[in-house]
Amino acid sequence: MSQSASALTLRRILVALDASPHSLAALETAVRLAVNANAELLGLFVEDAALLRAAEIPLARELSYFSAESVPVSREGVELKLRAQSRQIQATLARAAEGARIASSFRCVRGNVAVEISSAAGDVDLLVLGRTGWSVGRRAGIGSTALEIAAGSVPVLLLPERGIPEKVHLVVYFDASKSAERALRAARELAEARLGEIAILAPSGLAIPASLIEPFSANGASIEIRTRSFDASNEASLLRALKAERDGVLVVGSRDLLHNLPPLQAILCDLEMPVLLLGPEPANP
C-alpha cells in the first residue's frame, strides 16, 4: 500500500436499520457522514428469520413492551409487523436523504441478521451499525456479533445508544503498528473533511514519528492534534484515558488491535464511545 493511498474512502455507506431510537441515531450519523463525503447511503432492514421461525412454533407467545401482556403470536402477524416496520424505515430514510440531498437506496432482506448485514456490506466502503445492529439486547456477547458482522474487510462504525454528537473529535489508538498508522491516516482524512481535532492515545514513552504528524499541518491544513499517554502495563490507565476522551470516536486500525483495548462492551456500553473499526489493510495493487 502506498503512503498516499487513502485509508478510508467513503463512496457508499451502508446503514443497518430498524425502527428503534438507536437505529434512528445510526441513520442520523450515516446521513451526516454521507453528506460530508458526498457518498451514497444504502439502508438495509433485515427481517429476522429466527423470529419468523419462532412465530411458527405453536407454543410461542409474544410479550408486549407496553402492556407486558402475553399474546399468541403467528408468522402472519409478525410478517405484517415487519413489513410495516420496513415501510416506516424506508420512508424515514428517503425523507432524511432528500432533506440532506444525498443519493440513497433501501433494501429489505430476510435471514440471519448478522449474515445478511455482512453480505450486504460486501460492496460498501463503510458499515454503520446502531446498537440493535450489534446487540440483541444481551450484555453478554456484545462485540462478538459486531465482530461477526464486521469480519470482512469493510470498515465498521459501531455506535453506542446515543449515536454521535454533532461536534466530535477523533481518538486514535496508536501503538506504532502499521494498523495504528493506518488509523491515524484515516483519522486525518476524516478530520480534514470535518475540520475536527484528533487525540492520539499512545503508551507512555512511545514517540510518534514526525512523518506521521507533519501531514496534519501540510497544505494549509490546520488540524489540532494532541496526545494522551497511558501506562501500557496497566489496563485501568488505558480505560481512564479512553474515559477522558469518551466524547470522541475511537478509530481502531485493525481488529487485531481490539485485543489490546478494553472489551468492546465496556467501550460501547459503559463509556458509550463510538468505535470505528477499519478492518484489514487492502493488499497493494
Binding site: V31, L63, F66
Partner: protein, 809 residues
C-alpha cells in the same frame, strides 16, 4: 314735546365706553409680570382650591362653564403647581402569580423602584440563561447524571441478563419483535424450526411449555419493572437538577433579595420565582439537538428564551414614576373605557390569541393614581361604558381591569384577572353647565362622587384694577405663545372689545379662547405691518378681519334690501308699519338686521292674531310677547267695554321663523299706529320687549341691532335716521366707532325709552297723552285716538250683536 324727545336722545358718550389707557403705567405688556392664574375666575378658583384641598371620598370636581372660558387651563395650571409640591406616588408592577397565572399580582414599590426591579429581573434572566446551562454542563453534573442513568440502565439490563441466562439454560431463545419479545425453544444459538419442534415428544413439549410460561411470567415482571426503574431514574435526575439549579440560581436571587429586603412582597415574589425556576430548570437549557428531525423537515424545537417561557419571570412595569417629581396631573384626551381603566392586550401566536401579565396595560386612572386626572365630561360621556367604569372605580376606590366583554358577561373565555390596585385620585371633570345640571338631576351617583362644582364666569367686572389685570393676562398669553408685546393702546382696544363681546360696558368677557385667538390674529397683523409691538390698530384690523371673514350673509341681506328685494323703508312715514330689529346668529358671528313689521286692525272679538304664530313660524317667547299686547290694549283702552278689534301682526318677508320677544314693543307701536291712524317714521327702527303695563324692557344683541340698521341707512345715505332702544339697554352699548361718530355728527340718533308712550311719541311726533282727572286722554293725542277707535269698534260690535239678536228672535 320736542324737549321730551330730546331727553330720550342718547349722547355719544353713552354709546361707547372707551378704556382709559392713560391710567396704564406701561408702554407694552412686555413690562408686565406674568399672571399666576387666569382672569375673572376668582370664585371658580376658590372652589377648585377647596375641592383639591379636601381629602375625603367623593370630593371630586366638576368645572362647569361655557367652552373657551379656560376651565382646562385653570385646572392644569393650578393642579400643576400644587402637584409639584406633593409626594410622588408609588410605582406599580404586575408580576406572574405562579400558583394562579390567571390572576397576576400587583406589586407596589416606592417611586423609581419599579424600574429597578424590572431591570434586576431582566439582568437576572440574562444571567440565568448562561448560568443554568453552565451549571448543567459541568463535569460534576454530567458525572452524576451519567451515574444515575447508568444505574437505571444497569438495573434494566441486569434484569434482562438474568432472564436471558435463565432462558439459555432452559434452551429458550428470547427474540425481539417490533412490539415486544417472543420466547421460543432453541438449540444452541438457533431457534428450533417448527418441523423439528413437531418431532419432539409430547413430554418435551410440556417441558418447553412450562419453561416458556415460567420465563414469560418473569419477563412480564421485568417489563413491568421497567417503567418503575425509569420513574426512579427520572426522580433522581429531577432531584439532581433541582440541586444544581439551586446552586445556579440561588446566589443570584439572593443578591436581589438583599437589595429589596425592605419590600416583603417583592421578596415573596423572588422566592416564588426561584422555586418556579428550579421546577422548570429544563426550560433554561437549549433543547437537545436532533439533526435527523431537521433532516426530516420537522420544526426545530425552540429554546425557552425563544418560546417566551422566560416571560413568566419578567416584571411588567405598569406605572412608572421614576422621572416624575410630585404627584401626576394627567389629562386624558380620549377617555375610552380602555384608555381609562386599562386593558389586557393579546398577541397573535400561530393563529391563536394569547396573553399574560406582561400585556396588562395601564389606563389613565392608573397613571394618575396618587394625583389628579382631568377629563372632558362630554368626551367621557360619549365613550361607551367609560362613565360607568369611572364611577365604579371612584366608588370602590380600586381599579379592576376587565374587558367590556367580561363586564357585560358577553364572553366567558378564560382571561386574566389582574389583582385590583387601590385608587387614590382626584378626578376633575370639565364641561358645559347643561351637562352638569343634567348629570346632577339624572344621575344619582354623580352628586355623591362630584361634590365640588366650580362655576366659571363668562365675564368679569370692568374697573381700573381689572383693566390692569387684563393687561397682565394679555402679556402672559403673549409671552407663552411667543407673540409680540401689546402696547397700552392695543390693550385698551382689547378691553373695549372684551366689553363688546360681553355686551356690557361694565363687564369684560372672560372667554379666554376667543380672546387668545384675537391676540394671535392681532400679532399676525402687527408682524405684517413690521411692527415691534401690537398696536391698537392691529387689534382693530384683526377684529374687522374676523368680521369680514364671517359676514357674507350680512352683506347679502343688506344687498337684498338695497336692491329692493327686501322692503325696508328708511325715510317717510307709514301707518301701521314699523322697522323692527332682529339678530341673526351663525356660529361665532352675530349681526343685526331690520325687518318690516306691519299691523292691520278691523272689527273683531279682541283677538290679536300673530301671523307668524298661525303658520308656526314663531317660537313660544315671540308668541307670548304678542299675547301680552292684548293684555296691554285691553287694560289701557278697554277697561269698561269689550275689546272689539281683530288685529293681525306680521314680520314681512320673514320666512325662517322668529323667536324672542324683543319685537313686542315694535308690534305694539305698529298696532297703535294702525288704530290711531297716525303714521310712523320709517327713519327709525325699534327694539325692546314690552309688558302689560307698557313698560319697555331690555333685550339682547342691542349693539348688533343698532349697527344692522345703521349699515342700511349709511348705505342709503345717513339722513336723520336712528334707533329706539329700551333705556335699560343703555349700559350695554359698545357701538362701533362709525356709529358713534355718526351720532356725534347728529346724522344717526339713538333714543332710549322706558315705556310705550315715550316710544310712540318719538315714532309719530304726536304726544301720547295721559288721562286727566276725568279719565280722558287729551284730544288728539295718540292714546285718545286709539281709545276712540276702540270704543267705536266696540259700539259697532254691540250694535251688530243686537241686530243679530233681533233677527234670531
Amino acid at each position: 314735546m320736542g324737549s321730551d324727545i330730546d331727553q330720550r336722545l342718547l349722547a355719544p358718550e353713552k354709546l361707547y365706553r372707551p378704556c382709559d389707557i392713560t391710567a396704564f403705567t406701561f408702554k407694552t405688556t412686555g413690562e408686565l409680570s406674568d399672571l399666576a392664574d387666569t382672569i375673572g375666575q376668582d370664585r371658580a378658583l376658590e372652589a377648585v382650591r377647596f375641592g383639591v384641598g379636601i381629602q375625603q371620598q367623593g370630593f371630586n370636581l366638576f368645572l362647569l362653564g361655557p367652552a373657551g372660558t379656560g376651565k382646562y387651563e385653570l385646572a392644569r395650571s393650578f393642579l400643576g403647581k400644587r402637584a409639584a409640591k406633593e409626594v410622588t406616588p408609588d410605582d406599580w408592577c404586575y408580576v406572574n402569580n405562579f400558583e394562579k397565572p390567571e390572576k397576576p399580582r400587583a406589586l407596589r414599590l416606592p417611586s423609581g423602584r419599579g424600574s429597578v426591579l424590572q431591570e434586576d429581573m431582566r439582568g437576572l434572566l440574562e444571567n440565568l440563561k448562561s448560568a443554568i446551562p453552565s451549571a448543567f454542563e459541568t463535569e460534576n453534573y454530567r458525572a452524576r447524571k451519567q451515574a444515575i442513568e447508568q444505574e437505571m440502565k444497569e438495573k434494566q439490563e441486569r434484569a434482562f441478563e438474568e432472564l436471558q441466562q435463565e432462558a439459555s439454560k432452559k434452551e429458550i431463545a428470547v427474540i425481539r419483535t417490533p412490539t415486544g419479545f417472543v420466547l421460543a425453544p432453541a438449540r444452541g444459538n438457533q431457534v428450533v424450526s417448527p418441523e423439528d419442534f413437531e418431532k419432539l415428544p409430547e413430554s418435551e413439549h410440556r417441558k418447553i411449555q412450562s419453561s416458556i410460561s415460567e420465563l414469560q411470567e418473569k419477563l412480564r415482571k421485568v417489563l413491568e419493572q421497567m417503567p418503575r426503574y425509569e420513574q426512579e431514574g427520572r426522580e433522581k435526575l429531577r432531584n439532581l437538577n433541582g440541586e444544581v439549579a439551586i446552586f445556579a440560581v440561588g446566589h443570584l436571587i439572593d443578591e436581589l433579595r438583599k437589595k429589596h429586603a425592605d419590600l416583603p412582597p417583592v421578596v415573596a415574589f423572588l422566592n416564588e420565582a426561584q422555586q418556579d425556576m428550579i421546577d422548570n430548570v429544563n426550560e433554561f437549557m437549549a433543547p437537545p439537538e436532533n439533526p435527523l428531525a431537521a433532516m426530516l423537515g420537522a420544526p426545530a424545537p425552540l429554546a425557552a428564551r425563544d418560546t417566551g417561557f422566560l416571560r413568566r419571570y419578567q416584571v411588567n412595569l405598569f406605572v412608572d414614576h421614576r422621572s416624575n417629581h410630585g404627584a401626576p396631573v394627567l389629562y386624558e384626551d380620549h377617555p375610552t373605557y380602555q384608555n381609562l381603566i386599562g386593558e389586557v392586550q393579546y398577541m397573535a401566536h400561530l393563529g391563536a390569541l394569547s396573553t399574560d401579565f406582561n400585556l396588562i396595560r395601564p389606563g389613565a386612572l392608573h397613571r394618575a393614581n396618587g394625583g389628579y386626572l382631568i377629563l372632558d365630561a362630554h368626551k367621557l360621556l360619549m365613550q361607551p361604558y367609560a362613565w360607568e367604569a369611572l364611577k365604579r372605580a371612584l366608588q370602590s376606590s380600586e381599579m379592576r381591569i376587565e374587558s367590556i366583554g367580561q363586564m357585560l358577561s358577553l364572553v366567558s373565555t378564560v382571561s386574566l384577572e389582574p389583582e385590583p390596585i387601590p385608587l387614590n385620585v382626584k378626578v376633575v371633570l370639565t364641561g358645559e353647565r347643561t351637562l352638569y345640571y343634567l348629570l346632577s338631576s339624572l344621575d344619582l351617583e354623580f352628586n355623591e362622587l362630584f361634590k365640588v362644582a366650580a362655576d366659571f364666569e363668562e365675564q368679569m367686572d370692568r374697573s381700573a384694577a381689572q383693566d390692569q389685570l387684563y393687561a397682565q393676562w394679555i402679556g402672559t398669553v403673549a409671552r407663552k405663545d411667543g407673540l409680540l408685546p401689546f402696547t397700552a393702546g392695543a390693550v385698551g382696544r382689547l378691553i373695549e372689545h372684551g366689553s363688546r363681546v360681553a355686551g356690557d360696558t361694565q363687564k369684560i368677557s372672560t372667554h379666554t379662547r376667543t380672546l387668545s385667538d384675537l391676540l394671535r390674529e392681532s400679532d399676525y397683523w402687527a408682524r405684517e405691518a413690521a411692527q415691534p409691538a401690537v398696536r391698537g390698530e392691529d387689534v382693530q384690523r384683526a377684529i374687522e378681519a374676523q368680521i369680514h371673514r364671517s359676514d357674507r350673509l350680512r352683506r347679502r341681506l343688506l344687498e337684498e334690501v338695497l336692491q329692493g328685494t327686501l322692503l325696508i323703508d328708511t325715510a317717510g312715514e307709514k301707518v301701521g308699519q314699523v322697522n323692527g330689529l332682529s339678530v341673526f346668529e351663525f356660529a361665532n358671528f352675530s349681526f343685526g338686521h331690520p325687518s318690516r313689521i306691519t299691523a292691520r286692525v278691523r272689527l273683531g272679538k279682541g283677538d290679536v292674531i300673530d301671523i307668524e304664530r298661525e303658520v308656526k313660524l314663531s317660537g313660544p317667547i315671540h308668541s307670548k310677547g304678542v299675547l301680552i299686547l292684548s293684555g296691554f290694549l285691553g287694560g289701557r283702552y278697554a277697561a269698561d267695554h269689550p275689546l272689539s278689534l281683530s288685529a293681525s301682526l306680521v314680520f314681512e318677508q320673514s320666512y325662517g321663523g322668529v323667536e324672542g320677544d324683543s319685537a313686542s314693543s315694535t308690534e305694539l307701536y305698529a298696532l297703535l299706529s294702525a288704530l290711531s291712524g297716525l303714521p310712523i317714521k320709517q327713519s327709525l327702527a325699534v327694539t325692546g320687549s314690552v309688558n302689560q303695563h307698557g313698560q319697555v324692557q331690555a333685550i339682547g344683541g342691542v349693539n348688533e341691532k343698532i349697527e344692522g340698521f345703521f349699515d342700511l341707512c349709511k348705505a342709503r345715505g345717513l339722513d336723520d335716521q336712528g334707533v329706539m332702544i329700551p333705556a335699560s339697554n343703555v349700559r350695554h352699548l359698545m357701538l362701533r366707532k362709525d356709529v358713534v361718530e355718526a351720532a356725534r355728527a347728529g346724522s344717526f340718533k339713538i333714543y332710549a325709552v322706558e315705556n310705550i308712550d315715550q316710544g310712540i311719541e318719538i315714532l309719530t311726533g304726536v304726544p301720547a297723552g295721559n288721562r286727566d282727572a276725568a279719565g280722558k286722554f287729551p284730544e288728539g293725542t295718540v292714546n285718545d285716538r286709539v281709545e276712540k277707535r276702540l270704543v267705536e269698534l266696540a259700539e259697532k260690535r254691540i250694535a251688530a250683536q243686537r241686530a243679530e239678536s233681533k233677527e234670531e228672535s
